[in-house]
């Protein structure tokens, strides 16, 4: 039996993903986003988060998934990792679950079209549901901002 891990569950292109709860600052409804010029297209801009300017990226764009229009369910998950605060636009965020760290398996090479290095692993929970755990430091890797990797699917 490993350690219990509290995880925020969000969806992105019909897959369920997880981020550790202690990395998440807040979850917000979509607010007006100010575009920042000369940035990659997945960087949607900046928002005012109670007096602090926070950049927002579209996770779909970041992972090279087709971008979709935002809906009523879309949320901005603001995470704090590696000294940075960044908001992720996700399709929906609706659950907090406990998972056992022992159930996290190493990710297969490609999951749902996302390169394995962005992932920490795959956790099983509930009735055979699979949860893709994000590797935040890779997702926020700045050296990659400039050039997004092409997928080999």
């Amino acid at each position: 039996m490993g350690e219990e891990l509290k995880v925020i569950v969000f969806t992105l292109a019909h897959e369920e993903y997880g981020i550790e709860v202690d990395k998440v600052r807040t979850i917000e409804r979509l607010a007006p986003i100010t575009r920042v010029p000369k940035t990659p297209s997945f960087i949607k801009g900046v928002i005012n988060l109670r007096g602090i300017v926070v950049p927002v990226i579209d996770l779909r764009g970041r992972f090279g998934l087709p971008e979709s229009t935002t809906t009523e369910n879309s949320r901005i998950i603001v995470v704090a990792a590696a000294d940075m605060e960044v908001g992720f636009i996700v399709d929906s965020a609706n659950d907090v679950v406990d998972i056992d760290t022992d159930t996290i398996d190493l990710p297969p090479e490609i999951v749902g079209g996302i390169k394995a290095k962005y992932l920490r692993g795959i956790a099983k929970f509930g009735d055979n549901r699979l949860l893709i755990m994000l590797n935040l430091s890779e997702v926020l890797n700045k050296s990659e901002i400039i050039q997004l990797e092409q997928l080999e699917v």
């Binding site: 100010t34 000369k38 940035t39 960087i43 900046v46 005012n48 007096g51 602090i52 300017v53």
Partner: protein, 687 residues
Amino acid sequence: MDMNAYLSMFIDESNDHLQSLNENLLRLESDPEDLSIVQSIFRSAHTLKGMSATMGYEDLASLTHEMENVLDLVRNSKLKMDSFIFDTLFKGLDALEAMVQDIVGGGTGKADVTSLVASLQSIVKGDYKTSGASAAVSPAATNGQQATGPALLDEFQTSVIQQSIDSGHNVYFIEVEVREDCVLKAVRAYMVFDLLGKNGDIIKSEPPVTDLEQDKFDRSFTVFTISTLSQQELETQLSAISEIEKVSVALLDLESLAMLNNAAKEQSPAAAPVQVEAAAKEEASKQVTTARSQAAAASAAPAAVSKTIRVDIDRLDALMNLFSELLIDRVRLEQLSSEIRRNDLTETVEHMTRVSSDLQNIVLKLRMVPVDSVFNRFPRMIRDLAKSLDKKIDLVITGADTELDRTVIDEIGDPLVHLLRNSVDHGIETVGERIAAGKSETGTINLRAYHSGNHVFIEVEEDGRGVNQEKVLQTAIKNGVVTEEQSKQLTSEDINMLIFAPGFSTADKISDISGRGVGLDVVKSKITSLGGNVTIDSVQGRGTKFAVQLPLTLSIISAMLIKLGSEKYAIPLTSIVETGIIQKEQILNVHGNRMIHFRNAVIPLVSLSKVLESPDFNEHNESETEIVVIRKGDKWAAVTVDEFIGQSEIVLKTLGKYLTNIEAISGATILGDGQVALIIDPNALIK
């Protein structure tokens, strides 16, 4: 008693005194005949000695004491200053500074000063010229601490007393006995000390004050004190304290002092073991005694205390942040009131606006510190450097009262030290070279600070040999900073900037002053990280000027808000020359670049919508365009915008660490409606 309260006071005051010692000594060096300077040096040294002795920093006190001896001779015209004396005194100051630094860092302030003390003593004896700064004097004799054990008074205390007697002060040996039925002995003892402290200085007490305070004494105690009162006055005043059985006050002269000491020494073999045990305790107690007398002295002379308080910078930061929030709400209120159009609301909001802009000025000023706090250590540094390199250099400082944000001040010291060292080492030539080049033998370094717009400029300009561009290029190519190909296309400005490249150094030999090739690139990156920049201007054979440009404050600025289609941006007001409207026909085409006539000059026209990739605005569709004329140094440019919104105070916010180095954007701000607007960096728009 809490020593820490006095410690910070001691540190602050010591630093002030050391600073003034340094300054005055420098002044004296340029004008050795002026005895009034010696007087003020003497005073500073004397105060410093007293303070460190009271705080129990023996080494600090004994060194200052020796320096004071030398100064005393100079003051009384018994000794003439020469370069050896100056050097020794400066070395002494360095040692003092190091000790104070040690205390600041939580150390004990102890240092081996015997050799310095020896050279100072040889100066006093006048034999330094013949024997040099020899160790003729046995170090042990000067080491005040060794005497602490056996003698009733240690050497330092004895010498303080001797000096006081010499200068005509009254020194008393007081024996106090409290009544047998006295309930609060400690309180009585305290009252005695309080009285003595108010009227003079307490040199030593037996048993030590800590013991006295904790009732750890039988019925009597003895005190050595220097007092302004006469013997009789002292006796009556002390007897007036209730529950005191007997007071005997004896006026000390040199003879009786010697007798007392001898008597103590004779007793010492028997008393030694006890004394040694008590030594540590005594040390601590001495600090307490004197700290109290110092406190008493401070309360007696309130006029000398300046009306300032020290505030933790974090609190100022918190104040600033809260104020920024307020400012955002203010803008929002202004917007609402202009929509609602009710007179009383408008008036209230206007009043609040005025109050908050006053508040803003004050909050910003709170954080401003004159650059003098950085500059004041440079004269000494330049003197020492010049001396060690055998060069003659004048440092001329102007604009030391220019104020800068505290956070910038804290960071700017090191880069300036680098630049100055560089100027002394690489810039100014040796005396021989200067004469050969037909210059005056003394080189001049100008250190200037001044305000310009929202920036402060700090310039380091010397009249030395200037940048040797050929040599710079050779080295740059040799060190792989640029390739030979690239080097051909460099302008002379580019070549000058090469010396800021990492791993670059043109000095033929490495000196310990500069020339390791780590200096100037560090300077550049430091200044850039502060939001400033550094430029270099040099004429070979004539001199070099480094100009450092720094932002005045890092938090609130006035800006012009503009619209670009649906987007809003802010342009810092300080870069704006004026705004205007131009017709499409007025735009000229020069070599494919769009230019306009502006005040008898032709300046480039920059399309903001193109630079910022605006999604829904294009000025080509308009027959007349609003322009903002901006400047960077003496270069101007016109920037086309869609619409002016107005002028506003904005709070600078960073875009966070995820988004760095976005071209043409220097930050963001939050507008009254809660939206984020980006701040345009006008410098990036002018090439």
